[in-house]
Amino acid sequence: MSRLALRFASLGYLAVLLLAPVGFVFYRAFEHGFWPAWHAVTAPDALHALKLTLVVALIAVVANTIFGILCALAIVRYRPPGFGIVNALVDLPLALSPVVVGLSLLLLYGRGGWLAGHNILFATPGIVLATIFVSLPFVVREVVPVLREVGIDQEQAASTLGASGMQTFLRVTWPAIRWAVAYGVVLTTARALGEFGAVRVVSGNIAGRTETLTLYVQNQYEEFNAAGAYAASVVLALIAVATLLLMSRLRPKEETR
């Protein structure tokens, strides 16, 4: 009896908070049929925003994946003295307000900043830097526990048998961590595509130039073009659903490996 009550309470909470609003946005987007929504997301500014978002996310994901693998190796395998601070810094973007991230970049690269005058702000490089900052922790966080768990016996065996550092990494370490890396990449991609606050501060928010898809949603909504905002929201929500599917695909593989 109490089990049923708990089940309905939990599912009700999820329905009211999550499913109903998201479902309703899909309804609103297609309220007047498929084509108005299609025209809204294929408007030139929307397409430019989508392209910019994809390019920025691609750069951020590649950079953070390479960094993530190296940093996880450094944290787990080498751990030089004083590296504890690195460990703490890696987590910071998870807990820090995106607006604070944006402002920090503004103060560093803006007028009077230490690195002023490199055309970074209000242009793609600034958007990339902001996105890299907020999506930095995910690959590291996924790879670290796996590296810890697999231990160093096999790596030691490989190097005793004369494998070089690179051979050991490619033949022994990489096969052990690749699913964790893949999972981290999915999380990084989702975070990078969806970043809003930090990008809003550093991008200048110029339609057709520095407007990412999330900024496009806000601008359309504030210009009372709800149809455009809903349509672009649905595109981003579909990307989120694809992310979820990938996550649930990758998770069991990681566990049964």
Partner: protein, 272 residues
């Protein structure tokens, strides 16, 4: 278990010349440029402008107060609701459970600005269910509940899976009611996970911007949270004032992370 930490220390000495140096060097340099340098610039700017007193302006105090209060309320609700959802996912079984489990991560994958638009569509001015929470403090709490949903569920769930049900059966067979069993047997085991999930949810809520910015209306002293206040200061060209309040948020984030880290170390030491 006891041997591996020693071995992990012994190995790198032999190999630190090659890949190790690269890994340590590249990741330190990357972190310094991407994370440390901007944050240093933030703290330096606040210091250089002598704008610390900007934190104590009436409007920023009101924004910080509202942020902490709303985040605390959200953390409390999530502690209860998140544990209940995790319980339903692990101990209950019903058709469609796998789908519900997958949906939990949706708020993480959904861009925050889409969360804003989504919540306004159903609970805003043109609400089809007759609930218009837009531009109220309720809307802020709703948005924060949405974005922090995964944290407690995802920290409690694995602990609940690992938890041995024999203890609960023993308690029940000794005559404990199901409430007593939960309170005396299950809860103490779940508490560390609940607390670290709650702390993460709290930190996320304190800094949240995208999901709140459209729904809250951003009325100073009423519905303006700290991140939106900072954004407003930036937009009106007062970067120094924005920096001062940002440093407060940065300090809160650091404190929460250090707290979780210290707490985890203590808990794992007790386990071993």
């Amino acid at each position: 278990m006891a041997a591996s930490p020693q071995a992990a220390v012994a190995l790198p000495r032999a190999r630190l010349s090659g890949g190790a140096g690269l890994a340590v060097g590249v990741s330190t340099a990357y972190l310094s440029v991407v994370v440390l340098l901007p944050l240093a610039a933030l703290v330096w700017a606040t210091h250089a402008h002598g704008s610390w007193q900007a934190v104590t302006s009436k409007q920023s105090i009101a924004a910080l107060k509202l942020t902490l209060l709303a985040s605390f309320a959200v953390a409390v609700v999530q502690a209860i609701a998140g544990t209940a959802v995790a319980w339903t996912l692990v101990r209950d079984s019903f058709p469609g459970q796998g789908a519900v489990n997958a949906v939990i991560d949706f708020p993480f994958a959904l861009p925050t600005i889409v969360t804003s638009v989504t919540l306004l569509a159903l609970y805003g001015p043109r609400s089809p269910v007759g609930i218009d929470a837009a531009f109220t403090r309720w809307a802020i709490v709703l948005a924060l509940l949405f974005v922090t949903l995964p944290f407690v569920v995802r920290t409690v769930q694995p602990v609940l899976i690992e938890l041995d049900q024999e203890m609960e059966e023993a308690a029940a067979s000794l005559g404990a009611s199901s409430l007593t069993t939960f309170r005396r047997v299950v809860l103490p085991n779940l508490l560390p996970a609940v607390l670290s999930g709650v702390a993460l949810a709290f930190a996320r809520a304190v800094g949240e911007f995208g999901s709140v910015v459209l729904v809250s209306g951003n009325l100073p002293f009423k519905t303006e949270v700290a991140s939106v206040y900072i954004f407003g200061r930036i937009e009106s060209g007062d970067a120094a004032g924005a920096a001062a309040v940002s440093v407060v948020l940065l300090a809160i984030s650091f404190a929460v992370l250090l707290g979780i880290g210290a707490f985890r170390r203590r808990v794992t030491r007790h386990d071993v």
